[in-house]
């Protein structure tokens, strides 16, 4: 696989940047030609909020081959503070912190390596929100 495949979506994967339909508000992680929800063709680039809450989570035990060495790992459904729902891996959670409703924040982490071609792919994962001093 060539690096371009990862590179095309790197704005989303690194910074949660995507496109929101001006007409219906649907979020698209990759630049769309038409809105998947309403068919409109007008979009604005948005950077999603980096914090939200965990709606549900689970643990992957038998992983797909690209994640074989990473299993077991946690996957969660997160509702970001603007209401957008996205999937993502969870990281840095203690057993106590891991519960539905927990506040989370996105951080940049290594997602996988393509062993044969030496490509390392980074992207966001969610960790428990850390209350940074104001």
């Amino acid at each position: 696989m060539r690096v371009s495949r990862h590179w095309r979506n790197k704005l989303f994967r690194y910074r949660l940047v995507g496109w929101r339909c001006v007409s219906c508000g649907a979020f698209h992680y990759s630049k769309p030609l038409v809105c998947k929800r309403c068919g409109s063709r007008e979009f604005r680039e948005v950077e999603l909020p980096k914090t939200g809450k965990l709606l549900a989570y689970t643990m992957v035990k038998i992983a797909p081959k690209d994640f074989k060495d990473k299993a077991p790992y946690l996957v969660g459904l997160v509702e970001l503070d603007d209401g957008t729902k996205i999937l993502g891996q969870l990281t840095d959670f203690t057993k106590e912190e891991l519960k539905e409703g927990a506040r989370v924040e996105a951080v940049l982490r290594k997602i996988r390596e393509d062993g044969e071609n030496g490509i390392i792919e980074y992207g966001f994962k969610f960790r428990p929100e850390i209350h940074h001093p104001p």
Binding site: T58, I62, K65, L87
Partner: protein
């Protein structure tokens, strides 16, 4: 639009066929179906297969199977719609009959998962989701199901036993079925004490890894009057939905399935209440529950209770997965949709042996691609 009939079916036993390749399994099922129909030639061949390009690095299965069947020359393609590939191949074959261009079509679904390592099979299944989204996250098929499972339990305030009842039921019906991968009963206790594959989804709530092929012969009006073999009339409809359940209006409803079921009932001029038996896509326990509810055969959150009450037993109101469904008969991805329709045909022609449902007139098979992004629904009527 011409009518379409099933005139023959062939099944291989599902399991780990170390000694047979994907092509051989498909040929075996196809020859059985042809023998069952009494035909030796067809106008076209449609092959349903999901993962052959990934696990066997083999495309072009249409021409390959035509050759291996000794039918070189016959037009042949492959149709793919993830786990609904077999049903999609039936859809394409049925359209060719309906167009009047063909009077006999052979549809073969086949998959050989045991050629892959366990993580390769997981990757193959993940190809039915978006690689650039779920795939990048490592959010595999089972973890998406697990998230739905949690949302379901929370919304409807039910425990896992009301979901795990579905694999129990499939195993009950698979008992002693010759072509089933797991032809034995499994108690609810055993299911609920099996290890998590992705919490709260347990190992005994998901279909296993198996190889298999199934085939059916479709014919048109003209041949129908000429051949004597038992026949059923076929209707088929299809719809799609958002790829990711969490982008749908309601993640706990397969809208694609609801739409396809309504379309096929409409076309066949049949009421939901007239359906005598149903094949549900129980790739996971939770998908079975959501399927029954999305297609109007149970109220939201109620399917498990109906199952507990015996409504989906072989002798119940709506017999369910009468040969074991994906869970116990087995789920060789691209073959599964063809197994379902072949099994309905055996029921409606009174050839279901000890699993025979009492004089059914109408049967429905539901096939899903991904976590419901594609739904293809077949309805068979006794003739």
């Amino acid at each position: 639009m011409g009518k379409v009939y099933v005139a023959g079916v062939g099944l291989t036993k599902i399991g780990e066929h170390w000694d047979k390749g994907l092509e051989q399994l498909m040929v075996e099922a196809a020859l059985k179906a042809l023998d069952d129909s009494g035909l030796s030639r067809v106008n076209s061949i449609y092959v349903g297969n999901m993962a052959g390009e990934f696990l066997q690095e083999q495309a072009h299965l249409g021409a390959i199977i035509a050759e291996d069947l000794g039918m070189v020359g016959t037009p042949a393609y492959r149709v793919e719609a993830a786990n609904a590939s077999g049903a999609a191949a039936i859809h394409a074959g049925a359209l060719e009959i309906a167009s009047g261009r063909a009077d006999a079509v052979l549809v073969i679904g086949g998959e050989k998962l045991s050629d892959g390592l366990i993580e390769e099979v997981s990757s193959a299944l993940l190809m039915g989701e978006r690689q650039e989204y779920e795939g990048f996250m490592g959010a595999d098929f089972y973890s998406i199901n697990a998230l739905l499972y949690k949302l379901y339990m929370r919304r409807y305030e039910v425990k896992d036993d009301l979901i795990a009842v579905f694999p129990m039921l499939s195993h009950k019906h698979a008992k002693g079925v010759a072509h089933a991968q797991y032809p034995f009963e499994v108690s609810l206790e055993k299911i609920l004490s099996s290890p998590y594959i992705s919490e709260p989804l347990r190992r005994f709530e998901v279909s296993g890894v198996g190889d298999g092929a199934a085939a059916i012969v479709l014919i048109g009006e003209e041949l129908k009057s000429k051949i004597k073999t038992p026949k059923t009339e076929l209707y088929i409809s299809s719809a799609t939905d958002f790829m990711t359940p969490f982008e749908r209006e309601d993640p706990l409803r397969f809208q694609s399935l609801g739409v396809a079921v309504n379309k096929v009932l409409d076309e066949a001029k049949v009421d939901r209440g007239d359906v005598d038996l149903i094949e549900v896509h129980d790739a996971t326990s939770i998908m079975a529950a959501i399927s029954l509810e999305s297609s109007g055969f149970a109220e939201p959150g109620e399917s498990g209770r109906l199952a507990m009450r015996g409504e989906f037993d072989l002798g119940g109101r709506l017999p369910y997965n009468t040969f074991g469904g994906l869970k116990a008969r087995g789920n060789p991805f691209g073959a599964t949709g063809v197994y379902q329709v072949a099994e309905l045909h055996l029921q409606l022609t009174g050839r279901a042996g000890k699993n025979q449902v009492d004089s059914p007139r109408v049967g429905m098979a539901q096939s899903l691609g991904g976590v419901g992004a594609t739904a293809i629904v077949t309805l068979l009527k006794a003739v």
